[in-house]
Symmetry: C2
Subunit: 399 residues, 2 copies
């Protein structure tokens, strides 16, 4: 199979985007990625064969279709091919997978992948309702189940089974908020003192329960934002300004759509299978990974994913977090970007944003949050409540 | 590049679907395609690696995301990979292209592609408004432009430039309605006497103008429906019940998002480029094609596309249609299925449905509408108002 690498990355600030339309927002990330790769749009010799846009809500929230065609036109990339890809919150990693396939097939040499979401056009319940469109429409959604309530139940089950405390959950949040301080594009640049708060009788005031045992700071914020990567065939990478980071492995797996139908309620089987497939393709093992971005839309997901991808034994992820093993400088730094928790989670952008962070780490461009000597990174992008998961492994080529 | 073929096709009745949910509808087409290929779902050894679902409106109209994951679960295809693909009304052909890439890349051996749309949940203006989401949001949509009004203006320009009459347009409709009589899954099984009507003073009563010069019967109906194809690597086709039809060529091109920005207003440049690319990949010429499905959402599109793909000289497509050259038995039969005009146009399903028709023609399974001895077929799926077009060429392998 033809090898594929990443030669350009771009990323808007996550948070509230008020600088224009959806197309404007994704264009900003795309232009940054093209610029990073040294592609000169003005000269018309961009050589981009295909554009994939990842978004979950451009239709439901922004009432627009054909976003990918619009982006091609806005960037003057005509007649490049273009499609929009949707896989819930894992849309971004899915789009990168498709870019990989497009190049590996030989049909394309260079593919631009942009993920974006403009979620803050809606408020409160409307947003929760939108996110809940990824649940099973008959077995879950109709009964009033939303993502936070599902995550609350999942968290409670894991706490009881493995002895995880509310403080253990807070440790994940605080670590990711601390990492985000060093990521200029993160949505939240604050470190809430969750230890004090959760032990305080007045906790409900500043960090109230949103779906017990989940509190406000257990859950990722609602963010606008976009991220982009430029993929190219490794055998055609010379024309770009940056040395490629290799996409060494991609794995993906689906699980039952309804969470209640799973054999073991506290397992994330699709995460395990996706990671196994990615490791196998890359010829690597969990211990070869130097840095990871895991999908921490809720704190418990980072803990269980860190086990399912093989970093820690089942039931011991929270202990590793307690011991600082997932901090920068620890055994396996997780969510150096701040994660979904503090960097933000514009759904369609997230999978691309995770890969942008890994590329920056492998390039040594992660500044204050740099993992020294990182040579291999893993990103896990989680769709639905684990019903469609994509794992991507990137490696730094020998100098 | 690894060769890819189609070993199974499925198709629901187009029209009003009242048999269940969106997932139920696309599942019906998928099960038929798997059954056609001899895949036994019950035995769990389906060997399907990837599912692509093409839909434009599952989000906007049906408020659902993650449709592809839901389909995988419904069909018990877990842990197959899954994504939803959107490219406006060309979503179906785009999904087939991605299936092609997935197999050609070596990552997959068998890919299920299902296109579907449940459009009749909305009425009148709501539907028109939904379809208009594919237009340029600032340069077109904001000025009240809809697809029918744009097509009306485009039709008028072509009529004036090439001397096309309203009767020429009616010839396209009548031919496609006649073909649909022989297609059991078509939405409309009537042949309106458009010649009499358009020459009658009372024309406005039964065939009123909807966007002059377009009348009611100039425009495709609003349909629900789904279609499916099972793709496989040609080198792994032996395990399926049907002999594969080969995907010989795929071409795709984008054009300006806003129609007003095009150099020649009456050209469909993306159709021309997409077809050229497909011919080149297939090593075929227009005269090698025996049967074609062209995207006749409006009559004029069939005429102009028949020129842009090289069947007729520019400005002569309507003369060929007048002379019966595009009828079954003519030089190059177009829209033997009834086309979008009479078979119906459930947006996400259409590109897949076109390919299903070509497969049936090449297999000799098209019954009363069979083109004798057809060995090569072309499908053109048209997104936006020609801003993203996919051309697919299928060939029958030597016996």
């Amino acid at each position: 199979m033809r090898e594929v690498g990443i030669v350009g990355v771009g990323h808007t600030n996550f948070g509230k985007f008020s600088g224009g339309t959806f197309i404007d927002m994704i264009s900003m990330a795309a232009v940054e990625a093209l610029d990073d790769a040294g592609v000169k749009l003005a000269e018309g010799q961009h050589g981009i064969d295909q554009v994939f846009v990842a978004t979950m809500g451009a239709g439901i929230l922004n009432k627009q279709s054909g976003i990918a065609s619009a982006l091609v036109d806005t960037l003057n990339l005509r007649p490049a091919m273009a499609e929009t890809v949707e896989n819930g919150p894992a849309s971004g990693a899915s789009a990168i997978k498709l870019g990989y396939m497009a190049i590996a097939s030989g049909m394309c040499d260079a593919v631009l992948v942009v993920g974006g979401e403009m979620m803050r056009v809606v408020s409160g319940w409307e947003g929760t309702d939108f996110v809940a469109t990824m649940l099973h429409p008959e077995a879950e959604y109709n009964y009033g189940i939303t993502l936070p309530t599902l995550a609350g139940m999942f968290t409670r089950l894991c706490m009881e089974k493995y002895g995880i405390t509310e403080k253990d959950l807070a440790i994940v949040s605080v670590k990711n908020h601390e990492n985000a301080l060093h990521n200029p594009v993160a949505h939240l640049h604050i470190v809430p003192n969750l230890y004090a708060i959760t032990e305080d009788e007045d906790a409900g005031i500043v960090n109230p329960y949103v779906a017990s045992p989940l509190r406000l700071y257990s859950v990722c914020p609602v963010s606008d934002g976009a991220a982009a990567v430029l993929l190219c065939a490794m055998d055609k990478a010379d024309r770009f300004a940056k040395k490629p980071v290799k996409i060494a492995g991609i794995g993906q797996a689906t699980d039952t759509h309804a969470v209640a139908e799973r054999e073991v309620s506290t397992d994330l089987l699709a995460v395990r299978l996706a990671a196994q497939n990615a490791y196998e393709m890359a010829g690597l093992k969990p211990e070869d990974i130097d840095v990871a971005e895991l999908h921490d839309a809720f704190q418990i997901l980072e803990i269980v994913e860190s086990e399912e991808v093989g970093f820690f034994k089942r039931g011991e992820g929270h202990i590793a977090a307690r011991n600082g093993e997932t901090k920068i400088g620890g055994k396996i730094p997780i969510n150096t970007s701040g994660g979904l928790k503090a960097k933000g989670h514009p759904l369609g952008a997230t999978g691309v944003s995770q890969v942008v962070e890994i590329v920056k780490q492998l390039r040594g461009e992660a500044a204050g949050r740099q993992v020294k000597g990182a040579k291999a990174g893993l990103a896990v992008n989680f769709g639905g409540f684990g019903n469609n998961v994509v794992a991507t492994i990137l490696t730094k080529e020998a100098e």
